[in-house]
Symmetry: C2
Subunit: 282 residues, 2 copies
């Protein structure tokens, strides 16, 4: 990479982890967060070189590479409000968990002398905030780049390189549409399932008998409601389609149980076991 200075906007769990990974990789990292305590925490830990809680042109315009680690809607608002502060020729990327409603909107409103390329680091924790940040969660994780026709080969390569230097295990390229379909199933539907399992009945009496199965299926039921409700609504149509497919499968399984149809039950379980093999960790 040619730029050795990177600006991170938003010092939450992911922004803080990016700052740590990039500082470790030898970059000089600056940060903006509206919470001065988050900025001070990052300065004290040495994971950023400079930081501020106010958006100022003099600060923003010094950088030629900016990573937005904000919730999707906040990111879009930021661009609307402050893109005039960004220096011409700057490359912008992000970490949003949904792509179609973010990428096309930002690309269509962006100044022609700037370029935005979407990315999604598939890593996280059940906690939030810079104090919980830890770039070791990137190790072996997926880093997805979601270019469109508006992107240059140079920007795509630079964005992938960013994932590589932070230590991600796999760097992949997907269209925003493919991304949202995949994430709607693998991530959003699973969070819907975990929340529904956890809320569908009184469970306090059962906690002491719980084995690993229920624990594993509800680990992600402890959920950041602000972020996930935003992500669900931004990917509404895709997610509803995943929910319908899933509940259709549950209904088929239930019918086999109600009918005492052992053969169908076994066939579903065989299909399940066979398909699960592909998801075993290498």
């Amino acid at each position: 990479m040619t730029e050795n200075e990177i600006l991170i906007v938003g010092l939450g769990l992911i922004g803080g982890s990016y700052a740590e990974a990039l500082t470790n990789a030898g970059f000089r990292v600056g940060a903006i967060d509206r919470d001065m305590e988050a900025v001070r925490y990052a300065l004290d830990r040495g994971i950023i070189a400079e930081g501020t809680d106010t958006v100022e042109k003099e600060f923003v315009s010094r950088y030629r590479l900016i990573v937005f680690c904000l919730y999707p809607n906040t990111f879009v608002e930021w661009i609307k409000d402050w893109q005039d502060f960004i220096a011409p020729g700057t490359l912008i990327t992000d970490v949003s968990g949904v792509k179609v409603p973010v990428v096309y909107k930002v690309q269509s409103m962006l100044r022609p002398d700037l370029e935005f390329i979407g990315a999604h680091p598939m890593a996280g924790r059940e906690r939030s905030g810079v104090a919980n940040s830890d770039c070791s969660v990137f190790k072996g994780a997926n880093y997805l780049v979601t270019p469109t026709a508006a992107n240059t080969p140079e920007a795509i390569e630079k964005c992938k390189e960013l994932g590589r230097v932070m230590g991600f295990g796999k760097i992949s390229e997907l269209s925003p549409e493919e991304h949202d379909e995949m994430i709607g199933f693998l991530s959003q539907l699973t969070h819907c399932v975990a929340v529904s399992l956890m809320t569908c009945r009184e469970t306090s009496e059962m906690a002491r008998y719980s084995g690993d199965s229920f624990r594993d299926l509800t680990r992600i039921a402890a959920i950041n409601e602000t972020m996930w409700s935003e992500l669900f609504l931004l990917n509404r149509d895709v997610l509803i389609r995943q929910i319908d497919m899933f509940t259709g499968s549950m209904e088929a399984l239930k019918k086999a149980i109600a009918d005492g149809d052992t053969e169908t039950l076994k066939a579903l379980m065989r299909e399940s076991s066979r398909k699960r093999k592909l998801f075993e960790k290498k």
Copy 2:
């Protein structure tokens, strides 16, 4: 415990793990399995002292404590076919994952000079067979005893003691009805959910992007179809009730998403996070 000889019928994953745990605890363990290879494997590993692949009175009648580690229906059939071989005064227990249809049936058909008390070791693996047995899975796990009015205090205590000597972390007493309700939710519903997640759509393209969420939710989707279809059907009414509660919750979540109802979404997520806390490992 007064008996220091225990007969295990069925040397699968759980039977083998029982044999190992009880031999380690100083018991002399005998075993019956229709597969002579399983018997030989257990003899070679030293986890049983004697074993046979045929049911003979001379062998069976030597024991005063018998643990049936068979699938539920096979266990009931065994009692029907061979209970005449059991010595008077013998205590019988089991490991079945459903209790109402097993416990009352066995207790009602059993000779009056024998006693059966149900138990359920809540431990297992995604593999089967004696070659995968490993009594370390009992460490910290739940051991449930499900007495009825037909049981004596002595039998209940002896059964609990069995769980203790094998190293289970928590020994609890539940009615067969409470057991099946709890297991229908915590274990059977979760397996239905995992199978439905795994079978609801084409997933081969997605495997390489999977993070831990999807992996955790589908770990149990690799499932022993013979055992689980039997368990599901034996607990049919309870399980269907759990499925209905769960899909009702999914529908409520889906409606909130479709309506763009952020407040309801957040409220469900807050409830989910709060209830999940009770299930954190101590």
